[in-house]
Subunit: 490 residues, 2 copies
């Protein structure tokens, strides 16, 4: 384990990268823009997947799998979609390599595809071309399908988890007999994302509608959850799109409704990705490393023996084994680190770096006294407890830690949310403090673009559940129905 990581205040960017690399979450690969997700990082992602998958299935969704490749012509079918997605993408043009005489291998020019294939940047087109075969009548609806998959978007500037050329995600694609049903689905999934972010990731988010400029290419309306990171930047953490009949029209997917009339099918799509890993890291971590919410921690408790002689370790192990049995009964995940190649202090730092919520340490004196030392990752508090019943204390503490880091993030967001009423004030806040800035906007793309050009702040969303307090646009002075959230964003 490498020693120490960059401090947030010294270089936030390096701090983030240090955690990702040194906690063993991910690293850059030999392929430009593509990452390797390392076992510890992948274990966290697996926990996220498992939880989300359960939520999807509980709301009636099924998983399926569609091709990685999309014929180029499919993209042209939905006009907005092609502009948004078909540009920076990986294009497969050939299907064979051959040996040259000098031993190198080259593309076999005789094996050129008639139509190029695009590696999916998102799967609306390939899925709606399939739904056309599946849907004839209202009896075939709704279709509620989700796919866990890899997608590729050829990004120029990449950053581990936050923006990579290839990333892992889930994409839900649903088909409905009515506009209302499709809209309800869109909002239901936004709520599921928000619940997951808050209850599992301990990350507060604001739900709302995206502006025309920022919506998904091909959607009628896009809704998002937006989280605030520790550097005051916003991170869009999940989106749910109401697609209207756009893709049904593009792929000619009609159904016979109950009155026998042919109608285009209504649609939604929604996704979250390994970007959530970036959000999780940045929402809670500190200058000693990762801080994980207990519900997503692959290891919830680490136990470190403090000993000099082998016999001491044997005695410690006997005591620890009894504790481990109790932890197992409670479904608490743990690791007993008895490696003799590393000193306890080194191990302490390692598990702090990896964000393990609770650390137990047990030595000779503890054995004599029937005690054990417990340290919390979130507050660094240390306290000595009786060994008997420690599993109950741990269980309660895990819940407390989950709650505590959520409240800490709420507090941070509160301190970094600003209400401004003039453009000067706006510019000052955005430049000096960042954070979420709640301001009035006249609803036009023009004003939105002007603000973005001049301040680099974009409208994150038009938030739900905020009082519809009327006012005047900070730039044009025109009527505004409610404040929207501005921020610089990842």
């Amino acid at each position: 384990m490498a020693k120490g990581i960059t401090k947030r205040k010294d270089n936030y960017y390096k701090w983030y990268n240090d955690i990702v690399m040194k906690a063993g979450l991910a690293e850059n690969s030999s392929v430009r823009g593509c990452m390797v997700i390392k076992p510890y990082g992948f274990a966290i992602w697996e926990k996220m997947k498992e939880c989300l998958d359960k939520m999807f299935k509980e709301t009636g969704h099924e998983n399926a799998y569609f091709p990685l490749f999309i014929p180029k012509s499919f993209f042209s079918k939905e006009a907005n979609h092609v502009d948004g997605f078909a540009k920076e993408c990986a294009v497969v043009t050939h299907y064979r390599l051959k040996n040259k005489e000098d031993g190198t291998i080259v593309v076999d020019e005789t094996a050129k595809l008639e139509e190029e294939l695009i590696i999916r940047p998102t799967s609306e087109t390939i899925i709606w071309s399939t739904y056309k075969k599946w849907i004839q009548s209202y009896r075939d609806l709704p279709i509620l399908i989700n796919q866990w998959a890899n997608v590729v978007r050829w990004e120029m500037r990449t950053r581990l988890f936050l923006r990579t050329a290839e990333f892992l995600w889930q994409e839900g694609h649903t088909a409905h007999a009515s506009k209302k049903e499709a809209l309800d689905e869109t909002i239901q999934m936004l709520n599921i994302y928000s619940e997951f972010a808050e209850k599992w990731m301990a990350m507060p988010v604001i739900k709302g509608k995206k502006t025309e400029n920022e919506k998904f290419a091909g959607a009628i309306e896009t809704f998002s959850i937006e989280a605030l990171m520790q550097d005051g930047k916003a991170l869009q953490s999940g989106t749910s799109h109401f697609l209207g009949q756009n893709f049904a029209k593009a792929f000619d997917v009609k159904f016979t409704n109950k009155t026998g009339k042919l109608e285009y099918v209504w649609a939604s799509s929604w996704g979250v990705s390994t970007r959530l890993m970036g959000a999780l890291i940045m929402a809670h971590s500190d200058d000693k490393g990762l801080v994980l919410p207990p519900k997503l921690a692959p290891i919830q408790v680490v136990i470190i023996p403090i000993y000099r002689k082998k016999e001491e370790l044997i005695t410690i192990k006997k005591v620890v084994n009894k504790i481990l049995i109790k932890l197992k009964e409670k479904g608490i995940s743990y690791k007993f680190d008895e490696r003799d190649t590393h000193r306890p202090g080194h191990k302490f730092a390692e598990y702090e770096l990896k964000g393990v919520p609770i650390r137990l340490a047990i030595g000779k004196r503890d054995i004599k006294n029937g005690t054990i030392e417990l340290a919390r990752r979130d507050t660094y508090e240390k306290k000595t407890y009786e060994q008997i019943g420690i599993e109950n204390i741990i269980q309660e503490l895990l819940e407390e830690i989950q709650e505590n880091i959520y409240l800490k993030a709420i507090k941070f967001r509160k301190e970094n949310s600003h209400i401004v009423n003039t453009y000067d004030e706006f510019k000052k806040v955005i430049n000096e403090k960042q954070g979420f800035v709640f301001a009035h906007w006249d609803g036009t793309s023009e004003t939105e673009k002007k603000i973005k050009n001049e301040t680099k702040a974009s409208i994150r969303n038009i938030p739900f559940g905020y009082p519809e307090e009327e006012g005047k646009c900070i730039v044009t002075g025109k009527y505004s129905k409610q404040r929207v959230i501005f921020a610089k964003a990842y």
Copy 2:
């Protein structure tokens, strides 16, 4: 639901395709050679994944994720590997499309990659290029990593699940400090595959070593499990490779051993894929459709109400709900199909087609008598039971069905395994009966190729655990240490 499927004896190929399509397992997509795995098929695959993943983790493996893309030059580094894999593959040459004036989109020729990227057909090269960074000392070993991923091999003739351009699989890639450890790992994983095939898929397999001709491109030794399908053809269902130091040498991955000396790392790799779905379908199904082993059935019990009037359905539902609670308590998955759009006979046929192991039917008279009718998918036996305690009968029956279809497959394999001692006899059996043919072979590639050219039968493997009965090669009469398994294969 479509009516009826082709009979095995009429057209085995169509029978298989009918089951895949009509049971809702998979279908061909708009992209040549790529399939869509439909929800019901994917639910079976998820059950397989879940079980295998547990077995991998219990033996100390962790999941991770490596890039989809492999730089072309990586393939040239292992001489045999490039011949085996770099030929028929999807090649990414560009990273941008652009709009033409006529509205169509074309590849942007200015966005050509300096080095082409290959969509992974298997990940040894990208993973060993990464392991180079991870391994310095014996303390970094072993590395026991598995990846669940999609891979692409540009197949000319494809068949749903059995051979598709893109397929889903897991690939384990392990790194070890000694030859023995790597070999032990290779065999351990072969045993895990065999256990999974027999205990979960109810599919008997023969473990053994592949010949030089048939081994993995880049391996020192390949081991396989081979299953016999109902048309008498063999299906290779999983492979585990001892890679020796081949990839360590190709990517220059050395470690300092305990005595301080630099050594190349030893390796294994192993994989099973969605091909197992094809094996599962062909191993057990009959002329009425899919037959699923209860342990992998997404729905283990279907309950169909027989009623005319709405009030009857209400009474039936009350009784059924009590049964469902008991089934849930026992962890048995079920579906109560109360659709009024389909008649009971139609539903019976539908769930037979889908291979649901147990069907319950309950009507007016059953309500009066406190009874319920139970039908087994594997034997079509029908019997009426008391409603009280039916959950216990179901639980026992599910185990019995699992065992029964396994024994049936064992019996089939026995009846279709032939011991032959002359080449004439061999040719006769291969042409007229197919099946597994146990024959002596002199151990040379020459003889193996000759037999394959003349009969289309290949050596499936050199089986383990078969008595090492010496003999003479059926073709050359030369010494043979043991019989090997020949068969025509998928």
